[in-house]
């Protein structure tokens, strides 16, 4: 039972990451490969506020969201000058820079040692220390992210995003300031990712920079591509798929070290295969 709860917690956290990245990639057509940076910013902000200042979890999440949002705004302003593959490349640059800060700003992040002993969240004296309660918390957050995203994509704002994806020049001719729209969705997406980071940090109670490297961004990207772009359910399906897959591989009985590599290998093969034979992903509505 504990095992199933563990899987479900991971799926909820990755669903948040997937849905939020999909807002930028699937709905707006911006190939952002820096999602793990905001995921990490949320995780580190929460971890530092909890361990060093003893702040309440929910307040820390809020501050983490603000930190991510402000940094995303800065990155977004630079990124708004690019499109397609140059956008991808520049965003990779930002991920690497944020990762370097996690790794090297030792006085704040403790560098490669990471931050241990992060408390589980508590609210009005109730502590989410039991995994089942933590799962409920995660599901609440994931559901909130799902409905906020659905609200965004069904609104007129969301339709402008789709238009930007299809033809940015055309929509700007109609007087829409496309840079503003792209910037706003990028910031919103980063804020959601930071919530996922806060949940992750308090769930595993220990974080180090390696969880937020460029490879993690690629992993999240692969996840929503497999699930299908421009579809919130696709992002969730992708999360379920990539979290369950390594568990299946474990049951097949590979040794741990090989199993980790088998997992990477499978993601790689999946990415290639999906690009070759089904670029839309499982239930996607948009083809890159």
């Amino acid at each position: 039972m504990e095992y199933l709860i563990h899987i479900a917690v991971l799926i909820s956290i990755y669903s948040i990451l997937g849905i939020s990245l999909d807002l930028v990639l699937g709905f707006t057509g911006l190939l952002s490969v820096t999602h793990a940076a905001f995921y990490g910013l949320g995780a580190y902000a929460t971890a530092i506020l909890l361990t060093s200042f003893g702040m309440n979890f929910f307040l820390a999440v809020l501050l983490g969201i603000i930190v991510s949002g402000v940094i995303a705004l800065g990155f977004g302003i630079v990124l708004s000058r690019f499109r397609d593959d140059f956008y991808a490349l520049a965003s990779m640059g930002f991920n690497t820079i944020v990762f370097s800060v996690f790794l090297n700003w030792q006085s704040v992040t403790r560098g490669p040692l990471g931050i241990p002993g992060i408390d589980r969240p508590s609210l009005f004296g109730f502590e989410f220390s039991e995994n089942i309660f933590f799962l409920i918390l995660c599901v609440v957050f994931a559901t909130a992210v799902y409905f906020i995203s659905r609200f965004i994509t069904n609104s007129s704002f969301g339709r402008v995003l789709l238009a930007i994806r299809e033809n940015e020049e055309a929509i700007s001719v109609f007087g829409y300031n496309t840079v503003f729209y792209k910037l706003l969705i990028f910031v919103i997406s980063a804020m959601m990712a930071s919530v996922a980071g806060a949940l992750y940090a308090t769930y595993v109670t220990y974080i180090d920079p390696s969880s937020f490297s460029l490879s993690e961004s690629i992993f999240i990207l692969a996840m929503i591509i497999v699930g299908g772009l421009s579809n919130h359910r696709g992002a969730i399906l992708g999360a379920v798929f990539v979290i369950l897959l390594p568990e299946v591989l474990r049951f097949v009985g590979f040794p741990t070290d090989i199993a980790a590599q088998m997992r990477q290998l499978t993601y790689g093969v999946l990415l290639i295969a999906f690009m070759l034979y089904r670029p839309k992903g499982l239930v996607g509505k948009y083809e890159l």
Partner: protein, 289 residues
């Protein structure tokens, strides 16, 4: 007596790093010029070359010249196979450059995982005994590092001559300008592109071998190598073969002088800061194609 200033060593380190980046950029640019997409597997191909060398040299005990030939051809062959079975079908379908980019990301992940499975994730080095040291104007250079500098000169010159004087080189330049028109005038673009990817990947293999001797190999180093090559290419002018070489040296100098006063771990961040500055200020690079 020589001064014990740090400057000569910094310059030497910059030139050595710059040469490696120039090698990576050469292959990357060559491939980008004809295929027009960011081949993110390029760094992993370089690492693959290094590991094939490791296998031939340490496990099979082959002499260096034979082992390195096998490694270079192996890297080239790997690139060729990816082109033949992944990129080519995608291009035939007129897939966007983003699709190709993501497919190459998949290939990168696969190579990295396979290397880690066969050779473990441990750090390994190709160098055997102690190598000769040279002192040049107060800077210490190893034999391997000298080889690095010689290789980049030899390969650049060979490549430049090929591009300029052979029919093959002229076909490559024609495809760089316009693939469709080249095809119309009777150039077999598919075959040329396959060969270009083979050569570009083989050059990456050379870089991988030299890195294996100089600093050692790790399965996960592909991404960082790739990014160095990409940054060098963009600084020099993407798709411009010579620009990439210049860009490689600029990157080498900026990185090594950047960490003069701060800790060496910031190297990657400095490199990416350079990339972003160039993308914002001069996206076409120093030498426009």
């Amino acid at each position: 007596m020589e001064t014990d200033s740090i400057i000569p060593q910094l310059i030497a380190n910059s030139v050595i790093a710059g040469s490696l980046y120039a090698l990576l950029a050469l292959g990357f640019n060559l491939i980008y010029g004809t295929t027009k997409f960011f081949n993110l597997a390029h760094g992993a191909v370089a690492v693959l070359g290094g590991y094939i060398m490791l296998l031939c040299l340490k496990s099979f005990g082959l002499p260096v010249w034979l082992a390195s030939s096998i490694a270079i051809l192996g890297a080239g062959l790997a690139g060729y196979l990816f082109e033949r079975f992944v990129y080519e079908p995608l291009r035939a379908r007129k897939a966007s450059s983003m699709v190709l980019l993501i497919a190459s990301l998949g290939i990168f992940t696969v190579i990295q995982a396979v290397i880690a499975m066969i050779f473990t994730s441990q750090f390994q080095t190709l160098s055997t005994a102690e190598t000769g040291l040279y002192k040049v104007y107060g800077a210490v250079i190893t034999e391997v590092q000298l080889m690095v500098m010689i290789s980049v000169v030899v390969i650049s010159v060979l490549l430049a001559l090929t591009l300029k004087y052979t029919i093959f080189g002229k076909a490559i330049r024609a495809i760089n300008d316009d693939e469709e028109v080249s095809e119309i005038v009777g150039i077999n673009t598919k075959v040329i592109i396959r060969r270009v990817v083979f050569i570009g990947s083989a050059i990456a293999g050379v870089a991988g071998i030299l890195i294996g001797f100089d600093v050692g190999l790790e399965p996960t180093m592909g991404l960082s190598l790739l990014m160095k090559g990409v940054i060098a290419s963009i600084v020099g002018g993407i798709g411009n073969v010579y620009g990439g070489v210049v860009g490689g040296f600029i990157l080498g100098f900026v990185e090594n002088f950047g960490i003069w006063k701060i800790s060496g771990e910031w190297k990657d961040a400095i490199a990416f800061a350079l990339l972003i500055v160039f993308l914002v200020v001069r996206p076409q690079g120093l030498f426009k194609k």
